[in-house]
């Protein structure tokens, strides 16, 4: 009963069992359809190409916002973690942006820039940068000064220092920021699409919300959850296993 594959399978099966039970209790597919009732509309959306179109639009925005937020947030966090002076200047900004509701930034970006792709991605990126910066700041503070001394004495180039000394130490922090980043970013992207885009899963959810079509809301939501789980299992977890290989050796 300790199989690493069996337990997640049983856990997910339990989730679907609970969902089926709740659907049976409600006895109204318009309020909560049973899981198997999603199959036909899912196949129909896939066959028409609509599902793929909206999934890829959302995924594209997620990728852009993720890459920008991770790059800028990591750079900011590292500078703040390494320089107490910079940290003193920028920490109040970080606190403000951390506490600024996502919705406020989204609305402001749309108002200032317009209902454009740039505004959508910028809004998501600005929402995520403070979280990434906070995590990476802790990572930069935890860098081993003895390894810094080694890099200095042996005159490692900047790129060698980053690749062999700094980034491996930051890897757990980058992984934590990436994992929470992926989870948060796609949810914010949906809100951005809900409010001001004409494509994407968020736009479709908005459409079916107006039509009070719970089944289609669930079809689009669950489809994107599957995409994000695939990203987690195919990209993030193997990368994490690779960078932690030395710990398990």
């Amino acid at each position: 009963m300790n199989s690493p594959r069996l337990i997640p399978f049983l856990s997910i099966s339990g989730f679907f069992a609970l969902w089926s039970f709740a659907a049976a209790l409600s006895a109204d597919p318009e309020i909560l359809p049973a899981p198997w009732l999603l199959i036909t509309p899912l196949v129909r959306e896939m066959a028409s190409g609509e599902l793929l179109y909206h999934l890829s639009a959302t995924l594209w925005r997620v990728v852009w916002a993720f890459v920008l937020a991770m790059t800028l947030g990591a750079a900011l966090g590292m500078v703040m973690g390494r320089s107490e002076r910079v940290n003193r200047w920028l920490d109040p900004w970080l606190v403000i942006f951390l506490n600024l509701p996502a919705l406020v930034l989204i609305v402001l970006c749309y108002l200032w820039i317009g209902l454009t792709e740039t505004a959508a991605i910028l809004a998501v990126t600005l929402n995520k940068i403070p979280n990434v910066a906070t995590t990476l700041r802790e990572g930069a503070r935890a860098l081993d000064p003895n390894l810094d001394a080694f890099a200095k004495v042996y005159r490692l180039s900047w790129s060698a220092r980053m690749r062999h000394v700094v980034l491996p130490q930051l890897a757990p922090f980058i992984a934590a920021a990436a994992r929470s980043g992926v989870a948060v970013i796609w949810k914010i992207v949906l809100v951005v699409e809900f409010l001001g885009r004409s494509s994407g899963v968020g736009f479709q959810i908005h459409l079916y919300f107006q039509l009070f079509d719970v089944t289609m809301v669930l079809v689009y939501s669950l489809s994107f959850i599957v995409v994000m789980l695939a990203v987690e299992w195919v990209l993030l977890q193997p990368w994490e296993r690779r960078v932690r290989r030395w710990r398990n050796a």
Binding site: A149, F150, K152, V153, Y154, L156, H164, P168, V243, R247
Partner: protein, 218 residues
């Protein structure tokens, strides 16, 4: 003719000097840790610095190595320097071989493998430092220091926390490598027997602020 010969001898002596340390002061906050220190080490010479714990021996080494630059004074030494730290300071996420190649990118895999063999770690080239014993990690640290045939070698208590037998074997290995490469060597130790075995000169760092004096047995 006599004057010319004397000038030549003086120039030759100057060229032999590998390290010239002229520290006026070093403070931590408002506390002066090091006073005036003048030290010259010549090629092939090994100088040991002994002294009580916390007196500033490691601080002096960090200044000479260029790790600590916030002091009043001047240090000149050759470009090619290596350091054996108190802890092995290896990259735990890179293999033993990569630890040498990262520190010395121009070394080449064959030469790095030879160096590992020289310190008895030929079989451990692919092992991560965490898979090595403390003694093996210290040997890897020694290999990393000697791999570039440095002109200046700095060692900060390289045999501390090893059992006497292992420390003895490490001392033998270090003595052999120093004899082979003949760098100018500055090292810090708590152990007078270690200092007297490896060094041509033993100096004591003592006082507040600390200053260098001759070893007590000199």
């Amino acid at each position: 003719m006599g004057a010319t010969a004397a000038l030549g001898a003086a120039r030759s002596a100057l060229a032999q000097r590998m390290i010239q340390v002229a520290v006026k002061s070093k403070y931590f906050g408002t506390t002066q840790v090091l006073g005036e220190i003048d030290l010259t080490i010549e090629r092939g010479e090994t100088v040991a610095v002994i002294g009580p714990s916390g007196v500033g021996k490691s601080t002096l080494l960090r200044i000479v190595a260029g790790i600590d630059t916030s002091f009043d004074g001047k240090v000149s030494h050759p470009q090619s320097l290596a350091m054996v730290f108190q802890e092995p300071n290896l990259l735990p996420w890179r293999s033993a071989l990569d630890n040498l190649l990262i520190a010395h990118p121009k070394l080449g895999t064959d030469r790095a493998a030879q160096m590992l063999d020289r310190v008895g770690l030929a079989e451990k080239a692919d092992a991560f430092p965490g898979q090595l014993s403390l003694g093996q990690q210290r040997r890897l640290s020694l290999a990393r220091a000697f791999a570039c045939a440095p002109d200046l070698l700095i060692m900060d208590e390289p045999f501390v926390s090893l059992d006497p037998d292992l420390a003895g074997r490490m001392l033998d290995l270090t003595e052999t490598l120093i004899a082979e490469h003949r760098p100018a060597t500055l090292f810090v130790t708590h152990s007078r027997p270690e200092a007297e075995r490896l060094a041509n000169r033993v100096l004591t760092l003592q006082g507040t602020p600390a200053q260098l004096g001759p070893g007590r047995n000199e």
